[in-house]
């Protein structure tokens, strides 16, 4: 009996699925997981589109590049500026058609293909009960005693690690390698991804961890813990933005367009602060959770355009490797 019910249910589900269009969006793992913003976004969009929004997780751009024009994706979400040059060169993406003049970001955004949905800055996070006087500038950090220990991510395997590499390059230019050499004795270790680093920091293995200015928001809102703060540097902080884009190969362009325009809606943007623990691309400050007002925010923002970043990536990596091999 139960089997029959199940079978009927499955049949009905199949019929229902055949009638509602399915929108496939490729997203990074953290985005679509139960603990990311994905489920809430899915629910909100499905309530208005009469469609079935499906997130497919994985390493978004490598997967799109492997699949080429035969990809099933209608849209992607969660790309970073470090990969947009290669993504653009593939010719697989179409203009988003959205107005980006009134975004709530510290930089102007004119890209017609890649649409921002949230942003933040790289920053070193510390525990204010253990570190009374955190460095106030990158120079301070470089000149701090070597027993100030930090943990960072590898630019070869991690986006935040890559952002740090570009951040140092932006601050120190031709002297980036010397800067890394001064920083090296303070680096406990370099991890593959952000999670390992952050876990080591919360376990007390390092005094500071490379993360984002919005990281303390998690501790304040979810844990009521106000001991984690980001150290603000005078030289400015590297700006990181996450992007969405429409595939030019999609066979349901209208539905995809409606998803893309949903991204900048207040409903989507309100999910971001506590869903992805970062700043929404288009949401007025008074609509943010009050706790976001407690965050330390840098006045100066550093950002490389995708062409600049693409040109700097390899030489900066060579300097980084050279500094560590000495």
């Amino acid at each position: 009996m139960r089997f029959l019910t199940l079978a009927t249910g499955l049949c009905l589900a199949t019929v229902a699925a055949a009638e509602t269009p399915e929108l496939t969006v490729y997203a990074p793992d953290y985005f679509a997981s139960e603990w990311g913003p994905g489920p809430a976004i899915e629910k909100a969009f499905e309530a208005q589109c009469g469609c079935d929004l499906k997130f497919v997780t994985g390493d978004v751009l490598p997967r799109i590049l492997l699949e080429g024009e035969r990809t099933r994706a209608d849209a992607v979400i969660g790309l970073n500026t470090d990969v947009t040059a290669r993504a653009r060169a593939s010719g697989l993406f179409a203009p988003h058609g959205q107005d980006t003049t009134d975004l709530t970001m510290p930089i102007e955004w004119t890209d017609e293909v890649f649409l921002p949905f949230n942003w933040g800055h790289t920053a070193f996070i510390y525990d204010n009960t253990k570190l009374a006087n955190p460095p106030a500038s990158f120079d301070d950090l470089l000149n701090a005693p070597d027993d100030l220990k930090i943990v960072i991510q590898d630019p070869r395997s991690s986006i935040s690690g890559l952002a740090l590499m570009l951040w140092v390059k932006a601050v120190y230019g031709d002297e980036a390698q010397q800067a890394w050499e001064k920083l090296q004795p303070k680096i406990v270790t370099v991890t593959k991804g952000w999670s390992e680093s952050y876990g080591m920091f919360t376990d007390g293995e390092a005094d500071m961890v490379l993360s984002y200015t919005t990281s303390p928001a998690y501790h304040i809102i979810a844990e009521g813990d106000r001991t984690k703060e980001s150290a603000i540097f005078d030289e400015g902080h590297y700006f990181m933005v996450e992007l969405a884009a429409k595939l030019s190969t999609t066979d349901q362009p209208e539905l995809t367009d409606s998803f893309i325009s949903f991204i900048l809606s207040e409903e989507f943007q309100s999910i971001i602060p506590t869903g992805n623990w970062s700043f929404p691309a288009k949401l007025d400050a008074e609509k943010l959770p009050a706790e976001f007002g407690e965050l330390n925010i840098p006045e100066k923002v550093i950002f490389y355009t995708e062409d600049e970043a693409e040109a700097l990536r390899k030489p900066a990596l060579e300097e980084w490797l050279a500094a560590f091999s000495g």
Binding site: D59, D154, A206, F324
Partner: protein, 521 residues
């Protein structure tokens, strides 16, 4: 070959082909999608050198340290011995990230040892560097080495020890006449398997190596994919990884001298020579030190995870069920594949490509998980959406990844059975399935149970290819653990790690216990 069932040969050939597809086939698929041959730079050669050196050190130290532990376990009977053997196996099946945090809780800057050192006015321990990489790999692999060597010890027929005792052999004589020949057969294989495991290490090497000086070939492959999207280079590096693994395999299997002495009556070993006080104390020391070294990081994982257990939600438990199912499926597959392959290897003997086939069985562990996953993706994508196959593909890949350990455990045992009972069976006209059921299977029970437990547990802990394929709903427990960490939920992640550890050990224990039921009852 008369009387031998051809179907065993056919299934052996099929198993070998499947491994070829998963290793070289996936590599070829990645190379085929590449837009040109990859080129290696100085950094890549540095990565190759480091990989060779750390793998060599890790494998050598693990096998050497495992010898006294295995000997102690082989010749002592004490209450809780079975539990000790199971627990000592646990580090091997830990997911990488869990093991890193467990080790740091003991050896890290704020770990237990550093705290003790500070309390006595000393400095914090510095685990980061080559020594840290080797320490972690030894922690992972002593358990495996111990079990493989222990099997060798238990495989020495009790009659030989009885004879040795009646001839008045001392410990030294027994070592030379009985134990050394056994070690000569078992150690190279154990060394090789560990060398191959360490060959593809990436996250452990980088994190505990303290930075980019600890770059391994696998990290260079990852960089080629992620940073450069240079598939040609990724394929080339994966090929080099195979080259290193293949060379090591042929080298190690050449050193190994299989024993061909006559058989005994399958009895538990009684050791008359090990009654002395000195030998008793060295055994206590060996087991005690191993337990402290291996169990203290596990205790840390346990203690860390306990707090978050009540917070674990349905997604984690759903993933746990998925992981157990994948583990069971990959265990069944691994046993099927390895029994087929082991039969073919033993049948072919030392001529006609037998060693080559055995080397092939080891190669799956030298395959880059990233290349296997990507290659499979390229192969599957034109026919069916890879997302639908996430869990079956994970089970299959996990099964092949554990083949080397399973073969390491099965082949010597099967060889022994064939050399002892092969002629007798032939003369009785016993062949094929009946011979397998009546003669072979009962004698393979112990290695089979061990192999099944190992495969199940390894599959539980392996992140593997699922990360490349999974949709949001099809997570395994390790993947869910990473997702929790990615969402700042470190406490829940620690609890998920504890759950994972408990499930892996339980699976291992159930299978392994089944295999040892007769010997320890």
């Amino acid at each position: 070959m008369a009387g031998r069932d051809q179907s065993l040969t056919v299934s052996g050939v099929l198993a070998a082909s499947l491994i070829l597809i998963l290793t070289f086939g996936t590599l070829a698929a990645v190379g085929w999608r590449a837009e040109g041959a990859g080129q290696l730079g100085p950094a890549d050669f540095a990565a190759i050198r480091f990989t060779l050196w750390q793998s060599f050190l890790s494998a050598t130290i693990s096998t050497i340290l495992a010898v006294p532990v295995a000997r102690a376990l082989a010749r002592r009977r004490f209450p809780g011995r079975g539990l000790v053997i199971t627990l000592l196996g646990a580090p091997f099946i830990l997911p990488v990230i869990v093991a890193i945090f467990g080790l740091l809780a003991i050896f890290g800057r704020t770990g237990v040892l550093s705290e003790i050192s500070r309390a006595f006015g000393g400095e914090a321990l510095n685990i980061y560097g080559l020594h840290g990489v080797v320490l972690a790999h030894v922690f992972f692999n002593i358990p495996l080495a111990t079990r493989l060597i222990l099997q060798g010890w238990l495989a020495i027929p009790a009659e030989r020890f009885r004879l040795a005792a009646s001839l008045g052999f001392r410990g030294r004589d027994i070592a030379r006449q009985l134990e050394w020949p056994m070690l000569r057969e078992v150690l190279p294989g154990a060394w090789l398997v560990i060398f191959l495991i360490c060959l593809t290490s990436f996250a452990v090497a980088l994190t505990l190596g303290g930075g980019p000086r600890a770059t391994t070939v696998e990290l260079a492959i990852y960089q080629a994919f992620r940073f450069d999207f240079d598939l040609g280079k990724a394929a080339l590096l994966a090929l080099i990884q195979f080259g290193i693994g293949g060379t090591a395999a042929l080298f190690a299997l050449r050193i190994a001298l299989p024993q061909t002495a006559g058989g005994g009556f399958d009895r538990t070993v009684e050791r008359w020579d090990a009654r002395g006080r000195l030998s008793r104390w060295t055994d206590v020391l060996a087991i005690g030190l191993a337990m402290i070294f291996l169990l203290s990081p596990l205790t840390a994982v346990f203690a860390e995870g306990l707090r978050g257990i009540p917070d674990l939600g349905a997604p984690v438990f759903r993933a746990a069920v998925a992981s157990v199912l994948v583990a069971l499926a990959s265990t069944a597959l691994a046993l099927l594949l390895s029994l087929s392959l082991a039969h073919l290897i033993v049948a072919m003997g030392h001529r006609r490509g037998g060693p080559l086939l055995e080397a092939l069985g080891y190669l799956s562990i030298a395959a880059s998980p990233l290349v296997v996953g990507t290659g499979l993706f390229i192969l599957i994508f034109p026919f069916v959406s890879p997302d639908y196959l996430a869990l079956p593909v994970t089970a299959l890949v996990n099964a092949t990844m554990s083949l080397p350990f399973v073969l390491r455990s099965l082949v010597p045992a099967l060889r022994e059975v064939e050399s002892r009972y092969g002629t007798l069976s032939e003369s009785l006209g016993l062949g094929g399935w009946r011979r397998f059921r009546i003669v072979t299977l009962p004698r393979l029970r112990r290695p089979l149970g061990f192999a099944a437990g190992l495969t199940a547990a390894l599959s539980m802990g392996d992140l593997g290819v699922i990360a490349l394929f999974a949709g949001p709903e099809q997570a395994t427990l390790p993947l869910q653990l990473y997702r929790l960490m990615g969402a700042y939920r470190m406490e829940e992640a620690a609890a998920a790690a504890l759950l994972l550890l408990a499930l892996s050990v339980a699976l291992f224990w159930i299978f392994d216990r089944g295999g040892r039921a007769d010997a320890d009852a």
